[in-house]
Amino acid sequence: MLKAHLKIIKEDVNHRPSVVADQPGRSFLIAFASLTARQMAQAEDGCKDSAGQVVTRSECDAPFHMTSCAGYGRGIYMGFSVWDEGYDADEQGIVIGTDSAAVQPDQYGLISKIESGEIAGQVMYYGTCLYGLTIDAGTDTAEFNVEALFHNKSGGSININEVGIYAHGGPGSDSWPNLQQYCIIRDVLGATIALGDGEYVRVTYTISIAT
């Protein structure tokens, strides 16, 4: 069994952290099943990318690529430091949005994704990294973390209601920038996060298996 757990920490302008979400991830979407099966079978399975376009490719390059940091997850920004390589990338990795509509299994993206930027309604994306793979043979469990940092520099408050992961999977015959993004997880938060101007949020998904 594979599961996800979602934790969000907000840091105010004085860098005081507070946990604003700590909930089970509920929502692996159809793209996760489809991309896995497509890679298992090396066969077509029409799958919608995050723009809602059906992508019919027989093979898929790294269909769960999540790190927006030049392809490597080094986990170096623990504690809200910034890694420039992941800066301003809102098409891959953990993404945030404003809509609170319930999740359905065939959704292909966040309903209202917040774009990366510094103008009204935008939040700066500081990149997604992976770290902390552990295997515990004693409990027959294993996990790793997917984490991203966001900074509101828009001049106003922004409400966050949805969070997800866009995986960056390319077709076998194409290459950057012709790769597609697929939303493999979307979660609606239990409570709205009001992210004030100057504040940060760190979003962490813990992906785990239990045998």
Partner: protein, 239 residues
């Protein structure tokens, strides 16, 4: 004397299995077995809920998510244990498993579309009920894999195809693969375990084989002599 009146209320309906609460938000393995006689008629269908992604699976998911064989965050090249029990540290040879490469081996970290007669990878079945090899997250092989053939205790491994993605619009989606097997051994064969394995270059330019899931069935599936079985492993996502 009054006539006795007996009233009965009959309610008919299809009993649906109650969804377990712990499945919400989970990705599980559907294990579906269909048996057919020599005329192609379905003689039995079985479903079991599989749970058992192995350590190799999450390691490969981790590498897939990074598009790299060596997760620098953890300070060392990541090792997978092949189906022979040897730990193999990833190297640049694994590039083709995670990125566009030549030779058609694109993104094949979970590749399991084994063809007829192949038993080194793909969907694999065995007879062990956990007595030989108890289930463990670090399992790297089936406990007693059934060999390919028509001899005693053997099954003929067939081809593999995709189970297209589908969803119910409300609570789940799934997709997966299916593989056919036939029993020409002359006797019934009990299948007690199922898993799937992949193969690709990992540590060197020599193919390695890695088991990614293994489930021991609650009840064995008996494949009668002369019958065929299709075994499907579906990735089911609950939300």
């Amino acid at each position: 004397m009054n006539d006795a009146v007996i009233e009965t209320n009959v309610e008919a309906g299809i009993i649906q299995p109650e969804r377990k609460i712990e499945l919400e938000g989970a990705v599980v393995l559907d294990l579906v077995f269909t048996l057919r006689d020599k005329n192609g008629n379905v003689t039995n269908e079985r479903f079991e809920q599989g749970h058992s992604f192995l350590a190799n699976f999450i390691k490969l998911l981790y590498c897939n998510a990074m598009r790299h064989h060596a997760p620098y965050a953890d300070g060392a090249a990541l090792s997978l244990v092949d189906t022979g029990g040897t730990a193999r540290a990833g190297s640049g040879a694994a590039t083709a498993a995670f990125s566009v490469g030549s030779g058609g081996l694109h993104g094949c970290a979970f590749r399991a579309n084994a063809g007829t007669g192949t038993t080194g990878w793909g969907i694999l079945v065995g007879t062990d009920d956990g007595t030989i090899l108890p289930k463990d997250i670090n399992n790297y092989a089936l406990g007693a894999k059934i060999a390919h053939g028509t001899g005693s205790g053997q099954l003929s491994y067939g081809d593999t195809s995709i189970v297209p993605s589908t969803h119910d619009g409300a609570s789940y989606s799934y997709a997966g693969i299916t593989r056919s097997f036939s029993n020409g051994s002359g006797a019934n064969i009990d299948v007690n375990e199922i898993g799937f394995a992949t193969y690709f270059y990992w540590d060197t330019s020599t193919y390695r084989y890695f088991l990614l899931s293994r489930d021991i069935l609650d009840t064995p599936v008996t494949v009668p002599d002369g019958q065929a079985m299709t075994a499907s492993i579906r990735i089911r996502c609950y939300c």
